[in-house]
């Protein structure tokens, strides 16, 4: 079942450059797909369109049957609560503990304290950081910080996980660990879209690969059955 769709999406910026050009792609629910390409190929632009941070110049971005570029400012936050977003620079808040960083998405959804505690402990256990909840991000290694970012992304049980260069700062061992986590979330039903330029790592994953170049989709390689 198609879950994410980009239909003839073009993204033109104010300076006239094109981030994406007539990109059309369908992504199945519960699949794991890699976006690859050089810097400036359009990977981050595509993810921003799916996050709702950009509105396409033309074309449609459809998620679960709804055109998200038409979501009003009131509905957009509610859509984003269905997303788990992982970024290269983690975007952790330095003045909050690991526990509080992971709890942030639950705070905005007004869950009760007990439920928040239960879910955060579950998410931290998933990324093998159960004993780090009381620490602050500056006390963690880069790999641990990335895993905290992943825990925060999945704590709200997202239907879609969008990751932008999640292994950019990690060594090969930690990169493989992170990929293993994404596979686990895919197996639980999340649709996972990972932007990365690490071709070697991507090839090892056996997933569908969308190759972007200068804003155009130039190659769509199916991996083994997801």
């Amino acid at each position: 079942m198609t879950y994410l769709q980009l239909q003839h999406v073009t993204q033109r910026f104010d300076n006239g450059s094109e981030g994406l050009s007539e990109v059309t792609v369908d992504i199945e629910q519960g699949s794991m797909v890699f976006l690859t390409g050089h810097s400036g190929a359009g990977k981050s632009t595509l993810l921003k369109l799916l996050i709702g941070a950009l509105v396409p110049t033309s074309g449609r971005v459809v998620v679960d049957g709804s055109d998200i570029s038409r979501l009003g400012s009131r509905a957009l936050p509610w859509y984003r609560r269905q997303l788990g977003i992982v970024l290269q620079d983690h975007n952790l808040l330095d003045d909050r503990s690991v526990f509080e960083n992971v709890a942030l998405p639950l705070r905005v959804t007004h869950l009760g304290t007990k439920e928040i505690g239960r879910r955060v402990r579950g998410a931290l256990a998933t990324v093998d950081l159960s004993d780090r909840g009381h620490l602050y991000p500056r006390h963690l290694s880069t790999g641990e910080q990335q895993r905290v970012g992943i825990a925060r992304a999945v704590v709200n049980r997202p239907k879609i996980i969008l990751a932008d260069e999640p292994t950019g700062n990690l060594d090969p061992y930690l990169s493989r660990q992170v990929m293993a986590l994404f596979h686990q979330f895919k197996d639980l039903g999340s649709t996972v879209l990972v932007a990365s330029h690490d071709i070697d790592l991507i090839k090892d994953q056996g997933c569908r690969i969308l190759h972007l170049s200068q804003g155009s989709l130039v190659q769509d390689t199916d991996g083994p059955k997801n």
């Binding site: 400012s73 509905a75 936050p77 859509y79 269905q82 942030l104 905005v108 007004h110 998933t126 239907k159």
Partner: protein
């Protein structure tokens, strides 16, 4: 992982249309307000010195208009008090006969605008003059050389406070035209000065109050803007994870309220200190003019007014900062 799987299944059952705004969640909305209030307290307590400085700046900017406003209302009140004791002094001609003095007294008795009057005979006037003079010996010597009392009889007349100023003038002219009356002096100099002062305080004060209130808004605006800048990373993360605009604005509106209310309290303290300093000399001044020394100072209404003004200024500053930094004109 098993825990997350179980969570996802229960989540799927309870949120069939998850990205449409849900309504009627008053309990959780209130809980969010409690959380933000608690975080705001924590934010301020962790930066207590800089918060005190902000309160002081807003307090000074609020105390000045507050004091001016109190000055205006007290001047008006004093003006009314002095208007109540405004009167005339009717000076009889030197050597006016007792009959003419009695006729004038009778005329004053019949006059409805006159509340009361008091005759000062030439001798009483002289005695009073001598008593007040520090050089009465020299004065007595001078009077002895003149061989006659140079002071006339006079009537101190207190008028009904409801009488308009024009009626006062008419009565003055009427009394001045009487036989045996040398001069009628309307004792309105202080009243006129006070009215001028009151008008000046009203006009100049209003402009000054507006400027100082604008300064208070700017202080709140600049402070909240800095707070927003310091928390931009947090705002970006919150926006990414689905915080609504209202949720993004709320901490800063609470901060603006806290700064405004704190500034209001600081203003009350500053006003109290200032009034305490000037209380004794001011009372002495008022007593010397025969006025009621009681000032209308800190009534509960004034305290409430200053606190409300502080809160409104804080909120206004926060809203301006949010609009400028985050472009959040619309509620969300």
């Amino acid at each position: 992982m098993a825990a997350i799987k179980a969570n996802r299944e229960s989540s799927a059952q309870t949120r069939p249309n998850a990205w449409q705004p849900r309504r009627g969640r008053l309990r959780t909305w209130l809980a969010d307000h409690r959380r933000v209030a608690s975080e705001t307290s924590l934010f301020i307590s962790r930066r207590i010195v800089s918060s005190l400085l902000v309160w002081l700046m807003i307090g000074v900017a609020l105390a000045m208009p507050g004091l001016l406003w109190m000055l205006q209302s007290n001047v008006q009140s004093l003006s009314q008090q002095w208007q109540g004791s405004t009167g005339l002094t009717v000076y009889m001609a030197l050597g006016a006969s007792e009959q003419l003095i009695e006729e004038t007294a009778t005329a004053l008795e019949r006059e409805p605008a006159v509340t009361r009057f008091q005759l000062t005979t030439p001798q009483q006037a002289l005695d009073e003059l001598l008593a007040r003079s520090s050089e009465s010996d020299l004065l007595q010597q001078a009077i002895a050389e003149v061989e006659a009392n140079p002071l006339p009889a006079s009537f101190g007349v207190i008028l009904d406070s409801e009488q308009p100023y024009l009626a006062l003038e008419a009565l003055s002219r009427q009394l001045a035209s009487r036989s045996g009356v040398d001069e009628v002096v309307v004792e309105s100099t202080w009243l006129e000065r006070l009215r001028d002062l009151s008008r000046l305080a009203n006009r100049g004060g209003s402009a000054l109050i507006t400027m100082l209130l604008a300064a208070a808004v700017l202080v709140a605006f600049a402070t909240i803007r800095l707070a927003i800048d310091a928390r931009l990373a947090e705002i970006r993360v919150l926006a990414l994870i689905g915080a609504t605009r209202a949720q993004l604005r709320r901490p800063f509106l609470y901060l603006g309220s806290a700064f405004g209310l704190g500034g209001g309290m600081m203003a009350i303290v500053l006003m109290a200190v200032f009034l305490n300093q000037i209380e004794a000399p001011l009372e002495s001044l008022l007593v010397s003019y025969g006025s009621d020394p009681e000032l209308s100072a800190f009534t509960p209404q004034i305290i409430l007014l200053v606190l409300t003004a502080g809160w409104l200024l804080g909120i206004t500053g926060a809203l301006l900062a949010l609009i400028q930094r985050l472009g959040m004109k619309n509620s969300g």
